[in-house]
Every structure is written in structure tokens, then in C-alpha cells.
């Protein structure tokens, strides 16, 4: 059935009679007249947001993350941290083939602009997934995150990542708004060397001091925390760090 036969038989258009047909004809003429000429001059917006649409499919249009367990929230993390990760993915120091592939031929100036853009975003938090672990594991997680395990050389996460876990400028990431699976995957990646940072690689040291159970506990507890009303990272040097980190000069 052709479009014109539809126009001819459509009850609404029949009722409207000749006027309706004229409108259809005018509309079609308008399209055929404008589309071919408008198209060649159409360009996407000259904005960093439009340039980074490739990131939205996995990290959300505002960098808020998605319901996928393994794609992290990026919005509001310190720009220095984000830049370090973009460069590490590009150069292969952090291994995740889809990211390595996307960033392989991008210059640092552009990556810096991406990092600055994401760091300034403040989207509302996503609904949190319900915790699936038992109370004992959550208690262990809270202990490790807030007090550490001094007997095993594990400092409290809060010492560097801040009392509300929003990170610290310029390069310590926030830990809230992330899925438990993502956090445990990162701690695992540090232990097995597929994620590395500038020496001294403090997180490699910390992650290696955790047991498998500790990793699950820390991930579950951090994932259960709400994003605070002010998700901004602490100012540079606001926290005195218990061990030196190559990516956070202080």
C-alpha cells in the first residue's frame, strides 16, 4: 500500500477534503525542498559534550554512570584523577581493551579537556542497588573503610579518599556512586597488575594487603553509601595521607 493510497483512503483526510491534501502536498514539498539543502551545512554542536557522546553509552549522558555494574560514574571526580586514567588507558598502563582502543590516538590536550568537563558535572545520583551481602560482611567493610586494618598494613580509605569519600584534589578519586562489582574489579586489577599508577603505586600496596573477603567487604560497604549532598572532592592537601602516592604529589 503506497503512501498516497493511504492519504486517499484515510478517513480524517477524506473528511478534510482538498484542504487536507494540500497540507500534505505542501508539507512534502517543504521537506523535499529543505532536506537536501539543509543537510550539507548541518554540523553537530561545537561543544565538548557533543564530542564526547561516545562516552555516554556506558558512562551516562552526564557521566553519572548507568545500571551496568562495570561502568563507573565519572562525574565530579577530580580532573587530575580523570586525566591520569585517560592517559593510562591510552598508553596501556591501565588495561581495558574497549577503553584502550577508544583513546589510542587522542592528544593529551583533548583528554585534559574531557577530564575538566567530567570533573565539573554534578548530575543527580542514580537510584542505588540494594545490598546483597550479609550484615557481617558489611560490618567488616565499614571497619576497613573507616578505620583500616593496622595489623595488616591497611590504612582506612577515608584517610585519602575523604571522610565523605568524595576524593581529594587533584588526583584522588571519590568512591561513592560506584557499583560494588566495579570497586572489587579495580582492587583485583591492582593486585594482578592490569591497573597501575605512577610510582609509588600506593593502591597497589593497599590492594595487595587485602584478602578476597576484605575486597568484597570494602566494595559492598562503599557501594551502600549515598552520594553526599556536596559531592565535590576535598581541596588539595586537605587530608594528610598515610603513605606516599605517585599520582598525588603532596
Amino acid at each position: 500500500m503506497s503512501f498516497w493510497s493511504l492519504v486517499g483512503r484515510g478517513s480524517l483526510i477524506n473528511r478534510a477534503g482538498r484542504l487536507g491534501r494540500s497540507i500534505v502536498v505542501i508539507t512534502l514539498t517543504f521537506w523535499s525542498a529543505t532536506v537536501p539543502h539543509a543537510q550539507p551545512t548541518a554540523h553537530p554542536p561545537d561543544t565538548i559534550e557533543a564530542r564526547m557522546l561516545a562516552c555516554a553509552a556506558c558512562h551516562g549522558p552526564q557521566g553519572q554512570g548507568t545500571n551496568n555494574d562495570y561502568f563507573p560514574r565519572l562525574a565530579g571526580k577530580p580532573a587530575g584523577y580523570l586525566l591520569n586514567q585517560l592517559v593510562a588507558f591510552r598508553d596501556g598502563r591501565r588495561r581495558y581493551p574497549p577503553m584502550n582502543y577508544l583513546l589510542e590516538y587522542l592528544p593529551e590536550a583533548y583528554l585534559r579537556q574531557m577530564a575538566d568537563y567530567l570533573a565539573a558535572l554534578r548530575p543527580p545520583p542514580l537510584p542505588q542497588a540494594a545490598t546483597e551481602v550479609g550484615p557481617a560482611l558489611l560490618t567488616r567493610g565499614r571497619e576497613l573503610v573507616t578505620e583500616g586494618d593496622p595489623g595488616h598494613g591497611v590504612p582506612a580509605c577515608a584517610r585519602c579518599h575523604g571522610p565523605t569519600f568524595t576524593g581529594m584534589e587533584p588526583a584522588i578519586p571519590g568512591l561513592v556512586g560506584l557499583h560494588a562489582s566495579y570497586i572489587s574489579a579495580q582492587l583485583g586489577a591492582w593486585r594482578y597488575g592490569t591497573r597501575t599508577a605512577a610510582a609509588p603505586d600506593c593502591m597497589q600496596i593497599v590492594a595487595s594487603s587485602l584478602t578476597e573477603n576484605d575486597v568484597s567487604a570494602v566494595a559492598a560497604w562503599l557501594a551502600s553509601l549515598p552520594i553526599p549532598s556536596d559531592p565535590s572532592p576535598a581541596a588539595r592537601g586537605a587530608l594528610s595521607m598515610p603513605l606516599p602516592c605517585g599520582s598525588e604529589p603532596n
Binding site: A57, P98, Y101
Partner: protein, 417 residues
């Protein structure tokens, strides 16, 4: 009477001339040769194989996967113990020209000496001078890891008999100087035939098949034919479209992606206007006379109409906001799909991989902040990938054959590095 500044401006270069071992004019010549050598090393893209990402310049060690095992690129920095610090200009020329180490040993043809043999002695000397000028890096070469029988270097002799023809580029007097310059760069330093030729089971690209396209071994990308207008033949493109593509990575006809993004990023963006123009003139001439893409759409089988309908829905949902409902894209930022030969080639590997992996064109001086395409591997099922690729291959007058979910699935595990 000359002012103090005029006197000083004369005295300072003179002082340098006295201090240095060479007279000023010779030093200037040497600096010019090094600069020329750096430019030519860019044209030859030495860095792509002889430098690992984030590693020391020209220290080698990059693993190169081949169907026969893994080769590691060599240290070509001027370190005397582990690099080419003890090589003479003659040694360097012999390596480029004959594919032999200074001691006569045979080089695996992963090094594109079948192309570099066409480079002139003068250009080889300039590249040699440049390589001598970069910082030496002490890094021993890593032994290759090839399976039996390919670990026997004498096999290379057989390969050479079949595929290697030694000799500098001979200009074609019936063509313009510009065409010849383009041919010299494309066939020689550019070593385009390394990928844009069918690779046969013996790992060679016979001269008669040069530029006819082929699947790049191990990488699972298809390097399109440069001689057929049905693939990447550029016979129908205008010169500006070709130079834009080569040097900035994007154009009104399409963008570079996959392994070609690296070529633009590491090499082509650094070439001057005249050379890129010459390459474009030559590349365009390669496919002149090849039949243009026919507009007759191959009638899809009844079952593929379903695929097409499903593909159209998927396209409108995920692709049309950038590539436009009519497939015209928003060139040059978002490439057109209608009439884009890269999508319609007999091999559907590239469009399937673009959908799965997405990608950014390279960030170049001419396009420093490219617009990116998201990967869809995590979002679309094999059926959806097959449907949308079938649709873009057949819509808007395109005439590529349908693809199956099985083909889409197979490419999910294709290497990304």
C-alpha cells in the same frame, strides 16, 4: 658605524662556528639533513613499530603478532651496544634497500623493506642522520618468538624469491612530477601495500596484486582495495577530500578508523601540503578506469527483508541522530553512510567492527578534538548488530550483501590492540 647589536649578531654565529668542529655552512647542512630525515622518518612511520606506547623513542620492543608467531621490533636508536650506533650510512642503506642486516643476515619482512627498497640513497642518508641525532637508548632487542619452522631465517630466502624485488623507485616519464612524487611516497616510505594488498598464505603481497586490498592478519580489519572504486578506490573523490582524509583523519566522504587511524596519527598528519597533495593525485589515479559503484541494489532474499526492517528500527533508535535518517551524516564530523564504499565492501568486517567497537578518529593538528562514536558491543545483541549492518549496507542505494549474526558474534572477540 655598526651598533653593538649588529656586531654581536655577527660575532655569536662566528663563535659557534669556531667552537664546533664543522664550519658553519657544513653544520647548517647537517642540521637541514637531520630535519629532512625526521620528516622522512615520519613519512615512513618508523615510530609506529620501533617505539612502544609511552616508551623511549626508537628503542623497539613492540610485539607484532603474525600468523607465524610474535616478532619484536628492534632498537634503532644510536646506542652502540643495543641499537644502530655502530652502523655506517652504507649499513643503513643496505638494510632499507636489501632487507639485510649489516652482517648480511636476513630481516623478516614484517619490516617493510619490499617498499623501503624504493627509497633513494639521499633520503636513506637523511633518515640515517636523523636516527643518529636522537638520544641513544640502551635496551637489548628481545628475541622473536616464532613457531617451527618459521623460526628458521633461511626460509626468508624463499619468501624473497617469491615476493621481493630490489630497486629504487623509477619515475614514470609519461606522468607528472607530482604524480611521481606521490607514487614514490605511497609505494616507498608510506609502505601502503603492506596492508592494502591481499596477504596470501605465505605472508607475501605479490607485486601484481599491489593495492588490491586484503584482511590484515591477526588484526581482523579489512584494508580496502585502493584500486577499486567499489572499496576505498579514490577515483570518485576530489583531491581535497583525499588530502583531508589522509592528513586530518576526517573528510566529507568518510573518516579513517582502525589501523589507518594510527597511520594518520603517527605519519600522515606531519606531511607538508605538497606531499599530501601528490599522494592524493597518485592514489586517485590508481582507481581511475575502475567501474564506479553501480546504483542497482541487490534484491535481498525474503528472509533478509525481515532483517532489513529490524535493522531500520535499530538504526533509527541508535544511529540516526548522528548519521541522519537518510544516512547522509553530518560531514565531516559524522561521516555519511549513504554512498560510503567502506560500508558496502564485499568484506563486512569493518562496518561490523565499527558498530561493535565505535571509535574516535585520530586527534590531529587539523582535527585536534574529534567527535567520537560509542561502542555498541555492550548494548546490541548479535542479531541487532547483524540487522543494523545489513540495513546500512542496503539502504539509500547502498549495495552491500546482508551479514549474519554469526559474523557479528565472531568479531566480538577481535583484538582491540
Amino acid at each position: 658605524m655598526p651598533s653593538i647589536w649588529q656586531t654581536l649578531s655577527l660575532a655569536i654565529p662566528l663563535a659557534f662556528g669556531l667552537v664546533a668542529s664543522l664550519p658553519p655552512s657544513a653544520r647548517a647542512d647537517q642540521q637541514a639533513e637531520i630535519a629532512e630525515g625526521e620528516y622522512l622518518a615520519r613519512a615512513g612511520d618508523c615510530i609506529a613499530c620501533h617505539t612502544v606506547p609511552d616508551g623511549a623513542l626508537f628503542a623497539g620492543g613492540l610485539p607484532m603478532l603474525t600468523p607465524f608467531g610474535t616478532l619484536y621490533s628492534s632498537n634503532i636508536s644510536p646506542d652502540p651496544a643495543t641499537g644502530i650506533g655502530k652502523w655506517s650510512a652504507d649499513d643503513f642503506y643496505r638494510t632499507m634497500h636489501q632487507g639485510r642486516f649489516p652482517d648480511g643476515g636476513l630481516i623478516y619482512p614484517a619490516m617493510p623493506f619490499p617498499s623501503y627498497t624504493k627509497v633513494t640513497r639521499k633520503d636513506c642518508d637523511a633518515i640515517y642522520a636523523y636516527l643518529r641525532s636522537v638520544p641513544p637508548v640502551r635496551q637489548p632487542n628481545r628475541p622473536n618468538d616464532l613457531r617451527f619452522p618459521f623460526n628458521n631465517r633461511s626460509l626468508i630466502l624463499g619468501w624473497r624469491t617469491l615476493f621481493f624485488q630490489e630497486g629504487e623507485y623509477k619515475p614514470d616519464p609519461s606522468k607528472s612530477a607530482e604524480w611521481n612524487r606521490g607514487a614514490y611516497l605511497v609505494e616507498g616510505l608510506g609502505h601502503c601495500a603492506m596492508c592494502h594488498s591481499p596477504i596470501n598464505a605465505l605472508g607475501g603481497s605479490p607485486e601484481s596484486k599491489a593495492f588490491e586490498g586484503g584482511l590484515i592478519p591477526m588484526q581482523n580489519w579489512y584494508a580496502p582495495s585502493l584500486t577499486s572504486n567499489k572499496e576505498a578506490g579514490l577515483g570518485e573523490w576530489n583531491i581535497k577530500e583525499i588530502t583531508d582524509l589522509l592528513r586530518t583523519g576526517i573528510s566529507h566522504r568518510g573518516a579513517v578508523y582502525g589501523p589507518m587511524a594510527e597511520v594518520t596519527f603517527d605519519s600522515l598528519q606531519y606531511l607538508n601540503d605538497a606531499d599530501v597533495h601528490a599522494m592524493a593525485v597518485y592514489l586517485k589515479s590508481l582507481s581511475e578506469g575502475s567501474p564506479p559503484a553501480t546504483e542497482v541494489s541487490s534484491i535481498p532474499a525474503p528472509e533478509s527483508s525481515l532483517l532489513l526492517n529490524f535493522g531500520q528500527t535499530t538504526y533509527q533508535t541508535h544511529c540516526a541522530s548522528c548519521h541522519a535518517p537518510d544516512g547522509r551524516g553530518m560531514p565531516p564530523e559524522y561521516p555519511p553512510l549513504a554512498g560510503n564504499p567502506s560500508i558496502q565492501m564485499q568484506s563486512a568486517v569493518n562496518p561490523i567492527r565499527m558498530v561493535l567497537n565505535g571509535g574516535f578518529p585520530p586527534g590531529t593538528a587539523g582535527n585536534p578534538k574529534p567527535y567520537g562514536m560509542p561502542p555498541f558491543a555492550q548494548l546490541l545483541s548479535d542479531d541487532e548488530v547483524a540487522a543494523v549492518v545489513t540495513y546500512i549496507r542496503a539502504a539509500w542505494g547502498n549495495r552491500g550483501a546482508p551479514v549474519s549474526a554469526r559474523e557479528a558474534n565472531r568479531l566480538r572477540t577481535a583484538p582491540l590492540d
